[in-house]
Symmetry: C2
Subunit: 375 residues, 2 copies
Amino acid sequence: MSSIGIVTPQAYRFTEPLALQSGANIFDYTLMVETYGTLNADKSNAVLVCHALNASHHVAGYYADQPKNIGWWDNMVGPGKSLDTDKFFVIGVNNLGSCFGSTGPMHTNPATGKPYGADFPVVTVEDWVNAQARLADVMGIQQFAAVMGGSLGGMQALAWSIMYPDRLRHCVVIASTPKLSAQNIAFNDVARQAILTDPDFHGGDFYAHNVVPRNGLRVARMIGHITYLSNDDMAEKFGRELKTGEYQFGFGVDFEIESYLRYQGDKFSDYFDANTYLLITKALDYFDPARAFGGDLSKALANTKAKFFLASFSTDWRFSPERSREIVQALVENKRTVSYAEIDAPHGHDAFLLEDERYLNLVAAYYARIAKELA
Amino acid sequence: MSSIGIVTPQAYRFTEPLALQSGANIFDYTLMVETYGTLNADKSNAVLVCHALNASHHVAGYYADQPKNIGWWDNMVGPGKSLDTDKFFVIGVNNLGSCFGSTGPMHTNPATGKPYGADFPVVTVEDWVNAQARLADVMGIQQFAAVMGGSLGGMQALAWSIMYPDRLRHCVVIASTPKLSAQNIAFNDVARQAILTDPDFHGGDFYAHNVVPRNGLRVARMIGHITYLSNDDMAEKFGRELKTGEYQFGFGVDFEIESYLRYQGDKFSDYFDANTYLLITKALDYFDPARAFGGDLSKALANTKAKFFLASFSTDWRFSPERSREIVQALVENKRTVSYAEIDAPHGHDAFLLEDERYLNLVAAYYARIAKELA
């Protein structure tokens, strides 16, 4: 159960073009936003929570007409929770190109009067951060108490610390990485290929054909899902359990793990936009703040001013603890204040979204410190 | 270069039906076979080499009209090599259901006069071993000096030791596992789903439509390929190298790893049969000799009589060293003679096919011992 209760998203419209890293612009866009808690008088208690691949601005609480649609980080954000909304004003924002209300490929391209589809520009983590900074301007927030995120959300928090060093006091980066590995990119590209080669994709303009590249999306999600779970966790949860207890000697479902993955794939293809999947995985692939500094992450982080909290999970093989340690190392080289926790948890990359007392307590302790600074 | 030189495959036809584990039968089938070296007078120096997913009977040498088509284990098998064809008579056999000449889904189903397609029965590792045993009968080989294989080939060797304990003196199992994990099955099932949902698959009867489910096969191979390479090896070989040096801000090729994987997928979809891919991954999934013994591998191996050699590779995350150790442990519990080598190699699962002096020397030493036993 959510302790935030009923929430209502708000749409913020921006009519000033946003210049993107690719050289393209987005004109006249909307960001969907949710907030929890109360902004204090000096506007110093705001925390921006950035989302990962398939999440959104709906971080906590539920909608009046959808009581089961609980925010993706509801176990983290709420009154008395780790990110305590009795003390902090928490903001969730759906990123550009996503499919949960902010301007994305399924919306009308003002230049053509038709859905963007393949014409929606490729967006980067840095583009999202620029859009979030404009939102902060409109909300009158000059400096966040913290910017926080897990996985791709952690990349956004890290980018904030580099691009807007004066606009966040703390940077909270969970289960993330300073850049994708070749293996990470490989998994993303296979998923993209599954979508791009689905005949129902129609080069990204499937909206006009009233179809959805379901098969491609389904395979993409199944691949992704394997990388979110740990090998041990999968063994523990599913092992070689058979759906009927007997081999079927066919290509239907034999094993429970097949049933589970196909279900996840089916569910995902019902609600997620294929163009968004392509865009968000590209944003993941492109993130590499050290690239502009000859690969030197330490130099990339030289102008940061925030204090940092990082956490990683022992069985996360998507973004392993080693990847978080690279960030920690580069921050230490810059003499930044860093807290780092490596949490022994069985649930792979997904652990950052799950209940884990040690993890939630560590985050709680860190935010308690931030709250004291503000008092 | 091959030191075996020119080789010629032979077709062995069997007209006695083969009863399969599923309850189905295959009537009137052909096995494609290659042999290297000379069978000695008492027929005691034969070594059966079993192949993995996309390999065949073409273990070593090349074809007169295809000088570049060198056998898949040519670095292992030949005069003076680890499996020395000056001493051993080596047999490669293409498994039933494969697509390199032995009876498979693309061949005519005698019952219908049309290609088998989806009607080709599901075959298991044990079915293959039974077919191989018939081949041995025809060749007059009562007992192999060794049965050997890597990965899925290793499963066949292990099954030989269980099913025909008197018919092999040695069992050589490389980079294999006593059963797939949930994660292994998950990867296989995603690959199968990519093929099964490709509109060009036509429920397995694509031959009649003169199409091939290329997109599905391509994605399947890309997924497989990621699991054959180690994370470190991929980082070393490809890292984040860009094809053009610059981000393209589109969905073509940005990174070298994307170019490599797409190339591998394209190449594979040119020559591999989609139904075969389904069949062989199912054989992998179903292999689990301990299943009939309540999951007790030690009991499953209780009737084995062979001596065993096993090897695994440190960076193999598909079938990790831990999986080989499970087999070793169960053999030790049965007081079998076992040699086991864990080889520190960077190339992941693919290592079993690659040049690695320590590995090839260990296998050579083991076969030298077998040769002495025979002398």
